[in-house]
Symmetry: C2
Subunit: 354 residues, 2 copies
């Protein structure tokens, strides 16, 4: 069941992609373990500088000879106002006090800096000969896609609706990851009319497969061989799994984050914009609850993300999950704390047995 166009293109034994979770989850040990196990490890580089990215790419290369990939966030224009920043700071101040976060957040991101960083990240990917590059929050320019493809980098887009999948195909993406409403972490939505559409994977995959000619990778809520086999039945050529890898021993996720997922139930995740200014799925907690009423008045991504950084970091250090961004998909009951090898061996055998 594993040998298909996508496995061939990604040069992997199993067309199973470890989702490029940003923010330190995709440690070198996670990425290399996934690639060594015959799947595709991915560095979630969205928040990295070019230097950090280059360093991790070299670390990964030292630990695996198999292909791996890097995911980048497409920089975008974003609107924020001093009033929005002030409101956010006013809401965050009591939490900062509670967590003894004293630094003021200065140096807010700007679209200009984001574009510069993106250009530098791309240069690293080309310089280091990374075989796969995926994108979230948009589609890069024709020029960028052309450059990458000319350097034999496989380019992978992200879509949350049929329209977004078609846009990815038209832009020249080799493969498209379709993200169902079940998925944990940030929604990859980038096209205005797709906002809030929240299509479940069971609906999304066949409708996309019927409308595009490039291979489709299913993402969202897939945790084991059952989800993999089901995705193939729907017409996908591979899967991308986040939460299943997040709780693995090798993952760089905070141990508290892992624990919260391991004990969560399927009805405990919610969509929130409170942490970053962009919609994302995580386990309901006090932070989300407190900010809920103001969600639509907060600064846009990535400004809000920067404003909440100190709180998230301090909460993690101090062991307070109530203020951490506990990203998780809708299948936490299927999560396990095990090695990447155990996970992959288990799900491959399970998928083959169905």
């Amino acid at each position: 069941m594993w040998k298909n166009e996508t496995a061939k293109r990604l040069q992997v034994r199993y067309p199973i992609i470890q989702a490029p979770m940003a923010g330190g989850v995709t440690s070198t040990s996670l990425v290399s373990a996934v690639s060594n196990a015959g799947c595709l490890g991915m560095i979630g580089a969205g928040y990295m500088s070019a230097e950090q990215l280059q360093e991790q790419i070299r670390e990964v290369k030292a630990l695996t000879e198999n292909p791996f990939g890097v995911n980048l966030f497409i920089p975008g224009r974003y609107m924020t106002t001093d009033e929005k920043v002030a409101l956010s700071n006013r809401l965050l101040d009591p939490l900062k006090k509670e967590l003894s976060v004293h630094e003021k957040t200065t140096n807010l991101p700007t679209a200009e800096k984001d574009y510069d960083n993106f250009a530098n990240q791309l240069k690293v990917i080309l310089d280091e000969g990374v075989p796969v590059c995926s994108f979230t929050f948009g589609i890069p320019s024709e020029e960028v896609i052309g450059q990458l493809k000319q350097a034999n980098v496989t380019v992978v887009g992200t879509a949350t609706t049929v329209k977004e999948a078609i846009l990815n195909e038209k832009a020249g993406m080799n493969v498209v990851v379709v993200q169902g409403s079940e998925a944990g972490g940030h929604r990859g939505t980038f096209e205005e009319s797709s906002e809030g559409s929240m299509i479940g994977l069971m609906s999304l995959v066949p409708q996309v497969v019927d409308q595009v000619n490039i291979p489709v990778i299913a993402a969202g809520g897939i945790m084991d061989g059952r989800g993999i086999k089901a995705s193939f039945c729907l017409g996908a050529q591979g899967v991308q799994m986040g939460t299943a890898f997040l709780t693995c021993e090798e993952s760089g996720a905070n141990e508290l984050h892992k624990k919260e997922i391991l004990k969560a139930t399927e009805d405990q995740t919610v969509i929130t914009k409170a942490f970053s200014g962009k919609a994302a799925r995580g386990i309901q907690n006090d932070f989300i609850e407190t900010m809920k009423a103001y969600e639509d008045s907060l600064p846009a991504y990535p400004v809000q993300n920067t404003l909440t950084k100190g709180i998230r970091k301090a909460a993690a250090t101090q062991g307070k999950p109530a203020y951490m961004s506990l990203w998780s998909g809708q299948s936490p009951r299927l999560s396990k704390n095990q090695s990447v090898d155990e996970l992959i061996t288990g799900i491959v055998a399970q998928a083959e047995s169905i």
Copy 2:
């Protein structure tokens, strides 16, 4: 792939259930055609009087010797206030004027009348020897379940979370339908902590299957053999399909409703409480848009449902989909206008070929 415990229990060739869509969609010709094709036709009796139900059961019996089922809504306590009713009427008045609906809505439902009707519906089911009875919006009393099971009626519950599935099993249900967030029409949610949880089917099915011992039927967004085979891979023993049957030639749905689904895309459905007071998925239109801001201030189901009845009926008669409840799941791109026989023959062959 079709011979399993569920097919045996439901006495059908294919464990494919036609969802019991209420409000006239499940015409006698639809129900009997589904049962004649080896699947389970269901009468959506939620809004019917005992007399109407008895009449349709007899009509169906005259057209098929195969088993069929009836779905009932569990009556519940509901809170409404004169203020809420007044607000709703104030919002609906301009629409009534536009549609020339002159009758005042009197005779609002009461919990007492609902309970009486439910008792009378149950009596008909027992008197007529209906082989399968499913329930939405809750779980009937131990006494009712005992009575039905003693009369050899297969009882089928509805769940939207693992917790609700476990409650159904504990109550003695023979089978449980799990409804993913993709599903069209009313959410079957009945347990308070499950409200708003909106679990996608890819996440819901395996997590339920791991926690209950009764057979699980997958519902939500399934339209063809791909969805059926995928559901089986996830651990379901059967599927329930609504939208796929709604657009069939034999369905009693308004022709405009069928047309709107046939031309809709996956991103056009939304969850709204505006039509009935209970969350349901349908194609976005002016009515939903107009009522959106007031959704949480409207009377509860079934009061709001009664208040909007005149408008929905007039809109359908006058060909104005902008004010109709255009229930649809998230896979309208997969809908076809064909006969029930063509639908079932096609999806069975497709599922077998995967």
